[in-house]
């Protein structure tokens, strides 16, 4: 039976393709954005229907399918283009074969449905897999990129290291912060570590808890931890929550924290040419007027 259906479809491929193209064209307005040109849509449709037919002829040509799905992914077309296209093909083909048949009983219909499904299934499976594989790939790449950003450690001077935190701190990230902080402290031989939370949107008890633990651990390896970048609203919520951050020094800005860190390591910032600066300041406004 299957080969008979196949023969009907292949013999009348031109008619079926035309019917398919007509029906796909009616879907166009509702589904796809107007940014796609007519020519591109038309050529892609042709390619699509060719692929369906070649899949009916020699089941299992995955290379062509793969190339086609990669092309669609690159174009950024929705998955619904593929599922719609295959659904329409099923409908058109089944209708066509039924029109061509003389005697139709339930067994015939069930065989026909099975055959058409068997042609379409490998195509849909492959294309959907390619699409979802592509998404998973993007997600895992982004996760990796995020992880690289999540807990950077910058040795700014001998014995002074800064860890700027930007964005939400979750449990996964909190672990990374702790590990990087301790590894870095030992590796860079830091005496003072500054944790900058200017970019952390919310400091709740969990975030505070992790920071306290990290600071405690840093203290255990012999360094001092300074928490900097505490915005006024964060300071108020920390007080409201009743979190005790008095075990280590805290500062409002990285600048103040850095000065404190220099103090702790017996250093300070010295202006090299203080006198010249004063003279310049006197001359500058005069020069500006003339």
């Amino acid at each position: 039976m299957d080969s008979k259906f196949k023969q009907i479809v292949l013999d009348n491929s031109d008619i079926i393709v035309q019917k398919w193209l007509d029906e796909i064209d009616t879907l166009k307005t509702s589904n796809y954005s107007s940014s796609i040109t007519e020519e591109l849509l038309e050529s892609t449709n042709r390619e699509f229907v060719n692929i369906i037919f070649s899949s009916i002829k020699n089941e299992g040509d995955t290379k062509q399918l793969k190339e086609f799905s990669e092309k669609l992914i690159n174009l950024g077309w929705q998955l619904s283009y593929i599922t719609d296209g295959l659904q329409v093909f099923r409908r058109v083909t089944i209708n066509f074969i039924l029109e061509q048949s003389d005697q139709i009983d339930t067994e015939y219909i069930s065989e026909l449905l099975q055959s058409v499904d068997k042609w379409v299934e490998p195509v849909i499976r492959q294309l959907v897999n390619e699409y979802s594989g592509n998404w998973e790939n993007i997600i895992s790449l982004q996760q990796m990129a995020l992880q690289e950003l999540s807990a950077p450690l910058i040795p700014v001077m001998d014995n002074i290291t800064v860890m700027p935190l930007v964005g939400t701190v979750d449990t996964e990230r909190a672990k990374l912060i702790m590990e990087n902080l301790l590894d870095g402290t030992i590796k860079h031989n830091s005496e003072v570590v500054l944790i900058d939370i200017t970019g952390v949107p919310v400091v709740d008890t969990m975030v505070a808890h992790h920071i306290i633990q990290a600071a405690d651990a840093v203290r255990l390896v012999g360094a001092t931890c300074i928490l900097v970048g505490i915005r006024p609203e964060i300071a108020q919520t920390i007080v409201n929550l009743g979190i005790d951050l008095s075990k280590f020094p805290t500062k409002s800005s990285l600048r103040k924290g850095f000065i404190k860190a220099l103090e702790l390591t017996n250093r300070q910032i010295v202006d090299l040419h203080p006198k010249e600066n004063i003279i310049e300041k006197i001359i500058d406004p005069l020069g500006g007027e003339s």
Partner: protein
Amino acid sequence: MEPQSCVKIKQEWDIVKARQLGRDIAREVGFGTVDQARIATTISELARNIYLYAEDGEICFEVSEESGHKGILISSVDTGPGIENLSQVMEDGYSTSGGLGAGLPGVKRLVDKFDIESETGKGTQIQAVKWLR
């Protein structure tokens, strides 16, 4: 009364989602940055409790108006194990998960009105209101 908007809490990232939505609503109502931070922190604590202890629940927001006062109502409903000893949980420093134990008592101090109801084996409902000043 505006329609409710809710966020289901199932994964850790849902906490961020709830926080973001709550902060947006708070900004629209007209809260300043300090109160926005308080509201965001409240949501964070409540959502984290659902994530840590109940596994299934949601955070809902409502803009409420009462005798000329405008405010945001944050409710947390879960079908988790419930809290056995409410008074102990509301004490500072009590935690069953090794945390700071400042979550619920802290939230109570962050908002203007705080109600908690819990039944062992059935779940916990919390309502927190912050008024616009």
